[in-house]
Structure formats: C-alpha cells, structure tokens
C-alpha cells in the first residue's frame, strides 16, 4: 500500500516590466509554509510564457502578482491562453495593485479570485486549501 499524496502545486509569476517582488515573495513563502509546492517563473514573463510553464509544470493554480498596471490586458489574455491550451481547469488568481473598477473586467475574463494590498496571507492559504479540497473531492467522485 503506497501513500497517495497530492500537494497543491502553484505557479507564481510576474508579467511585463513590473519589478515589485515583495508581494510575490511573501506569498511564495506563505504557501510553502502551508505545505504547497511553489514554482517561480521569475520576472518579465509574457502570458505565453506563463501558460507554457503552467502546462509543463502541471500546476493546479496559476498566481499572478501585478503592481504596475497592464493587468487588464495581460490577465484576460493569460486566461484565454490557458483555456486554449486545455488548462482552463487550473485556478487563476491575482494579487497586487488592482483598482476596484478593474476587478469585474478581470473576473469576467476568467480570473477566479483577486487579493489586493493588505490581504492576509492566511486568508489566501485558506482559500486555496478549500478550493483544493473541493477539487480533490470532485476528482474522487
């Protein structure tokens, strides 16, 4: 009898010229402490690069940290690319500096959840864990 263990795998990426790294680092460590496998892509990614990495790494969650605008173009594009790659079932979350008025646009385009400045990392972990528990239950059914 082998133990069947599925830690949550999360890709964390930054798009474009945005060089704010503190938030994504904080999130990475929080998720690691929660027992998740976090894969960093590094800075200056395009939506195409993030999508390719998400497929190769077979992650469950794609997380984008965005603090330098541009997200109303790049995030919808990423969501579309993921769907086209057959990876639309991955959870897509974003955080950083995202004005209230942008949120409906992003959610409409396929971003599942947005965590802006001041979000408690414990809430982020709890959200991902409950999503994952539900996904595992669906898979088992």
């Amino acid at each position: 009898m082998t133990t069947f263990k599925r830690p949550l795998r999360v890709l964390l990426a930054k798009l474009g010229m945005d060089t704010h790294t503190v938030g994504v680092t904080v999130i990475g460590h929080a998720l690691r402490e929660a027992g998740m496998e976090v894969i960093f892509t590094g800075l200056k990614q395009t939506p195409e690069m993030v999508c390719a990495a998400a497929v190769q790494e077979d992650v469950d969650v794609v997380g984008i940290s965005t603090l330098s605008a541009g997200h109303t173009r790049s995030l919808p594009k990423l969501a579309r690319l993921l769907r086209e790659a057959g990876a639309g079932d991955k959870l897509l979350v974003a955080g950083g500096v995202i004005p209230e008025e942008d949120k409906p646009i992003l959610e409409q385009a396929g971003v599942d959840r947005i965590f802006t400045m001041g979000s408690d990392t414990r809430d982020i972990v709890a959200y991902l864990e409950s999503w994952w528990a539900q996904r595992l239950a669906e898979d088992a059914a």
Partner: protein, 320 residues
C-alpha cells in the same frame, strides 16, 4: 473529469507536452495511474542520454543548465530539464526556483522544463526523478538534464541515474576541498569550474587538477579521460566545450558498451529502490505498533525486531 492512463500514455508517446506533464505529476504524487502509464510507455525508452548536473548550492547549476540547453538547441537536440529543489522537511512545501534562470527557453517547443521537490527523499533527487526521466525518454527527448539539489557531502544519487555526471565547483568556497567534496570527486565524468570570472579561479582549478590526478591513480577504471573545464555560466562562456565533452562521453559510453551497462545499472537501482519502498511500506503495515512498542519499551532490540518483521513478510509472501 477523470483522465485515463491509457489516453495519457498514447498522447505522451505522440509528444504532447500536457500529457507528459500529467504523467510526471501522477508519478510524483504516487497516483496509481502513474505506474500504469509507465508500463505502457516503458518499451519506448532507452534512447535518451541522461546528464546529471550537480554541485554545491549556488554554484551556478541552473545558469549553466540554461547555457547548455542553448548550445544543444543550436545543435538541433531536443532537451528536457528536471530541476530538483529541496522540500521542507517540516511542512512538505517547497519553493522551486530553478526555472527562473531558464526563462529564455520557455517558448521553445524543443525544450521541456519540469521542477520537482525532493518530497522527503535524501540524496539530492526526488523519488520520482527516475520516473520523470523515463517519461521524457518515451517522449523522444534526446537529452535529459537533471539538476540536483545543491549538494553538500555525498548526496550523489544522481550518479546512479545519469549516464554522464557533470560536477560543478566554484572558487571561493574555502581553500580546502570545500569546492568539491571527496565523494563527488570519485563520481564525476566531467568537471567544471564555474564562475571563472571570480577571484580564486586559478587556485580552485589547480586544486581540482590535483584531485583528479589523485583520482586517476586510485580509480582502476581509467579508460575515460575525465576533463576539467572552465565556465562563466552567467556570460554563456564554456557551454560549447561542455556540450562537446558530454557528447564525447556519450560516444565513449556507446563505444565501450557502457551506455547499456549504465542503463542496466540504473534500471536495477530503480527496481531495487521500489522493492525497498514497497517492503518498507508493507513492513510498517504488517508489524503495526505492537513490535515498535516493544522496541520503544526496551523489550526487544531493533535487530531482533527487524528480523521478526522480515520473517513475517517472507511468511506472507510464501503463503500468497
């Protein structure tokens, strides 16, 4: 949506990235579909050259890997990279950051990069690393490069996995053999002193040369001349010579029948380690807490306990 092992196996044999990625995930997670996929694709494996890249933390393994991949791509080779980073022994979580240095290959369809956490395995690899190699081999990649965890002493499991082991040393880790520990010296097929732009390069190079000289006197198998190469991975210097050496080693292995014998040794190692894992799992489930309790309370010594468990196991398998 439940995916079937047979579909995934067929799709990965056709080279589909998402299918290969899923197969590796199943094997890494110990999902029972993983071994099913392996069974289906195993006959298609045995062609790829597995290259291990190992060395101390921060030596430039990922940066060098990036430059080697560029060089292989120039030569028309398809490359898979397996980058292993440590999982936390406390939480099981991990930060896998090696691919940050390989970003420029992200959109190249001839390159597949996969990050793995060690998930409790010592030795610098994850227990799924062998499996991931087999998946990439079945997908038709020519080269499978395995970047190990930054190793300290003799965590050199990669030697049992790779056809060719590249060991990276760097200047400035201390003037003793710090640069590369003794266990590593015996293991490598190719040595590289990276960060040759740094102070201390000459000293490190001399020291490595000396150690390789000593090794040549003690190691009986001297047919392969172990090269010592120089690199500045951050500037892409040295990659061509290293790729040449890796190709030369492959040719040498082929010429001496060692490619097959190393492949056989790898297969044997993997089977034995699976047997060990399976037996250990079974031993735990059979022996239960009773025997362990007697050991803890000093009623039974560990050797006697192990013997009892093994006896029970053999009884079980004989009866089955």
């Amino acid at each position: 949506m439940m995916q079937r092992a047979a579909d995934v196996a067929n799709r990965l044999l056709a080279g589909e990235v998402a299918a290969g990625a899923r197969a590796i995930r199943w094997l890494d997670d110990r999902d029972p579909r993983g071994p099913e996929v392996l069974a289906a694709v195993y006959p298609q494996t045995g062609r790829a050259q597995v290259v291990g890249v190992t060395g101390p933390p921060g030596a430039g393994k990922s940066t060098l890997t990036d430059t080697l991949v560029t060089e292989w791509r120039k030569r028309g080779q398809r490359v898979a990279v397996i980058a292993v980073d440590p999982s936390s022994p406390f939480t099981g979580g991990a930060i896998l950051g090696d691919r940050v240095r390989m970003s420029r290959h992200a959109l190249d369809p001839g390159v597949f990069i996969r990050s793995l956490g060690t998930r409790g395995q010592a030795g610098g690899l994850s227990r799924s690393t062998h499996d991931a190699c087999l998946v990439f081999d079945a997908m038709g990649y020519d080269i499978i490069l395995v970047e190990t965890v930054g190793v300290g002493q003799d965590e050199i499991d990669v030697v049992n996995l790779a056809h060719t082991t590249v060991i990276i040393a760097v200047p400035g880790l201390g003037d003793e053999i710090q640069a590369v520990k003794a266990g590593l010296m015996e293991a490598g097929d190719i040595f590289v002193v990276n960060k040759a732009d740094r102070d201390g390069y000459d000293a490190t190079h001399r020291q490595m040369e000396l150690m390789l000289h000593l090794r040549a006197q003690t190691v009986t198998d001297q047919r392969w001349h172990v090269p010592l190469l120089r690199a500045v991975a951050a500037k892409g210097e040295g990659a061509d010579a290293i790729v040449d050496a890796i190709a030369a080693h492959r040719a040498w292995l082929d010429g001496h029948g060692d490619f097959i014998s190393r492949s056989r040794m790898r297969a044997r190692e993997q089977v034995l380690s699976l047997v060990r894992d399976a037996l250990a799992d079974r031993a735990v489930s059979i022996s239960g807490d009773a025997i362990m309790h007697r050991v803890e309370t000093r009623q039974l010594d560990p050797y006697a306990a192990a013997e009892q468990i093994v006896a029970t196991l053999s009884g079980k398998s004989a009866a089955a």
